[in-house]
C-alpha cells in the first residue's frame, strides 16, 4: 500500500505527515547565533508567528518546517493558562521534529519587556521618511524596517 501511495499519489505524500510523535512533552530548543535560550527544555505550549499564520504548538504536533515572520514567540513553560514568556523575533525558522522537539532559530530575539515603546515609535517615524526614497535599496530597507516596527509597536501597545 505504501508503494502505491508513493507512486500514485505524489501530492498526498507532500500534504500529510505520516510520522507520529511518541512522547507527551514538548521539548523546546530555542537558539540564537550567539546564545541558546532554551536547550531541550520541556514546555507546555509555544505560540509561533508562522508565515502561514499564528500557530500554537502542543506536544505531539505533526512535524513541520516553516519560516517565521516578525512577531511574538510565546513560551508557556509550566502552565498553558498563565501568561507565557514573550519573545519578539524578526524572522527565523521553526521546525517540529518527529520526536516532539520544537526547534526555533532566529537571528535576534528579545523579551518583549526589554523594548521601549517611545524608542520604537521614533525609529518607525524615521523609517517612514525613507519609504518614498528614490533609491530602491533604501526604500526596500525602510519598508522592511517599517513593517517590523509596526508589528512590534502593535505588540507593545
Amino acid at each position: 500500500m505504501f508503494a502505491l501511495r508513493r507512486t500514485g499519489l505524489q501530492t498526498l505524500k507532500r500534504t500529510y505527515a505520516n510520522e507520529a510523535a511518541a512522547s507527551d512533552v514538548l521539548k523546546l530548543q530555542f537558539a540564537l547565533p550567539y546564545n541558546v535560550l532554551y536547550q531541550n527544555q520541556a514546555v507546555k505550549q509555544v505560540n509561533l508567528p508562522l508565515q502561514s499564520g499564528r500557530a500554537g504548538i502542543l506536544p505531539n504536533h505533526v512535524p513541520i518546517v516553516e519560516q517565521l515572520s516578525a512577531g511574538i514567540v510565546e513560551v508557556f513553560e509550566k502552565d498553558a493558562t498563565a501568561a507565557g514568556k514573550k519573545y519578539f523575533v524578526s524572522s527565523g525558522f521553526a521546525s517540529v521534529q518527529p520526536d516532539s522537539t520544537l526547534n526555533i532559530t532566529c537571528a535576534e530575539a528579545f523579551e518583549l519587556s526589554e523594548f521601549d515603546l517611545s524608542k520604537v515609535q521614533s525609529l518607525k517615524n524615521e523609517a517612514e521618511k525613507n519609504l518614498t526614497s528614490s533609491d530602491e535599496v533604501v526604500a526596500t530597507d525602510a519598508k522592511i524596517q517599517f513593517d517590523l516596527l509596526t508589528t512590534l509597536e502593535n505588540e507593545l501597545k
Binding site: 505524500k13 507532500r14 500534504t15 500529510y16 505527515a17 505520516n18 510520522e19 530548543q29 537558539a31 540564537l32 547565533p33 550567539y34 546564545n35 541558546v36 536547550q39 508565515q51 502561514s52 505533526v62 512535524p63 513541520i64 518546517v65 516553516e66 519560516q67 525558522f93 521546525s95 521534529q97 518527529p98 526547534n103 532559530t105 537571528a107
Partner: protein
C-alpha cells in the same frame, strides 16, 4: 639536509680565524634575539589562551544554532536523494587569513587537493586567504570565489550572512546546478587535535526529492525548501566558521607553546655556550698575562 645547512651556516658565522671576542659578542646577540622570539611566542600563546574559552563557547552556540537543519537533513534522509549524484559539486573551504598555527591550514589544503584529484571539475569557494593561496598554487582554475578578512574575531551572524548571500548570488548566476554543497572546516576534536571534515547543504531540488520529506507537513505555496536552503547555507557556514575558529585558536596556542619551549631550549644551550666561551676568553687572557709575566723574569 637542513642540519647540514645549519652546520654550514654556523661555520660561516664563526670562522676559525676570527678573534674570540667577536664570537662572544655574536653569541650574546644571538641569545638576545632568541630571548625576544620567546617573548613574542609566549605573548601569542597567552593571547590565544585567553581567546580560546570564548571561541569554544562560540563554537557550542553556533553548533546549536545549526542543529535544526542538520536534524532536518537526517530525518528527511536528504543524503539518499537521487539528485545528490547529479550536478556539479561545490566546495566551500573555510580557514582564516592568519598563519602561525601549525599545520591547520595545510591539512585543509591537502584535503581539498585530494578531493580535487577524485573530482577535478569541482568548484571551490575559499573563505580566508590561507587556503586560497594554497589551492591557487595547484588548482587555480577551480577557485571561483574567495573571501578574506575573516577569522580575526569570533565569527558572527552578520559576517556569515554577508558571505552566504554572495555565495547565493554566485550560485544563482552560475549556469551549473549544485545539488550538494560541501562545507569544509577544521573540526576541533580535542584541545590538541583537529580534523578537516565537511558537512553537506542540499539545495531545494534535492530536498524536494528526499525520500523522508513526507515525514514533515510542509505548506506547498511558501516554497519552504528554497528558503530553508538559503537559511541552512548561512547557519552551516556560521557553525563551520565557529568550529574552524576554535580549532585555529587552539592550534595556535599549541604551536606557540611549542615554539616557546623550543626557544627556551635554545636559550639554555646558548647561555651555556656563551658562559663557556666567556670562560675560555678569560682563561686565554690569563694564560697570555701569565706567560708574558713569566717571560719577563
Amino acid at each position: 639536509m637542513f642540519r647540514q645547512a645549519a652546520i654550514i651556516a654556523t661555520k660561516q658565522s664563526y670562522p676559525a680565524n676570527v678573534r674570540q671576542f667577536a664570537t662572544l659578542r655574536e653569541i650574546e646577540m644571538r641569545l638576545k634575539s632568541i630571548k625576544n622570539i620567546k617573548k613574542i611566542t609566549k605573548t601569542m600563546m597567552i593571547v590565544a589562551s585567553t581567546r580560546l574559552s570564548k571561541a569554544q563557547r562560540n563554537k557550542v552556540t553556533t553548533a546549536e544554532f545549526a542543529k535544526p537543519e542538520k536534524n532536518f537533513y537526517q530525518i528527511t534522509e536528504a543524503e539518499t536523494s537521487p539528485l545528490t549524484k547529479e550536478g556539479k559539486s561545490l566546495v566551500i573551504a573555510i580557514t582564516s587569513d592568519k598563519g602561525l598555527c601549525g599545520s591547520i591550514h595545510s591539512s585543509m589544503a591537502k584535503k581539498i587537493r585530494s578531493l580535487l584529484k577524485e573530482d577535478s571539475s569541482a568548484e571551490i569557494i575559499t573563505i580566508g586567504d590561507k587556503i586560497k593561496q594554497q589551492i591557487l598554487r595547484t588548482n587555480g582554475d577551480n577557485v571561483k570565489l574567495a573571501f578574506n578578512g575573516v577569522g580575526k574575531v569570533d565569527p558572527n551572524f552578520l559576517e556569515s550572512s554577508l558571505i552566504s548571500s554572495e555565495i547565493l548570488k554566485y550560485i544563482n548566476e552560475s549556469p551549473e546546478t549544485y545539488n550538494k554543497i560541501s562545507v569544509f572546516f577544521n573540526d576541533p576534536i580535542t584541545s590538541i587535535s583537529f580534523e578537516a571534515t565537511n558537512d553537506p547543504v542540499y539545495n531545494e531540488a534535492t530536498v524536494n526529492e528526499a525520500p523522508g520529506l513526507c515525514k514533515y507537513e510542509i505548506t506547498q505555496d511558501l516554497n519552504i525548501p528554497k528558503d530553508l536552503f538559503e537559511y541552512a547555507l548561512n547557519t552551516k557556514i556560521l557553525s563551520a566558521m565557529g568550529k574552524g575558529y576554535a580549532a585555529e585558536i587552539s592550534a595556535r596556542r599549541n604551536a606557540m607553546d611549542n615554539a616557546s619551549k623550543n626557544a627556551g631550549d635554545m636559550i639554555n644551550r646558548y647561555s651555556i655556550l656563551y658562559n663557556r666561551t666567556r670562560q675560555a676568553v678569560i682563561t686565554n687572557e690569563l694564560v697570555d698575562i701569565i706567560t708574558g709575566a713569566s717571560s719577563l723574569d
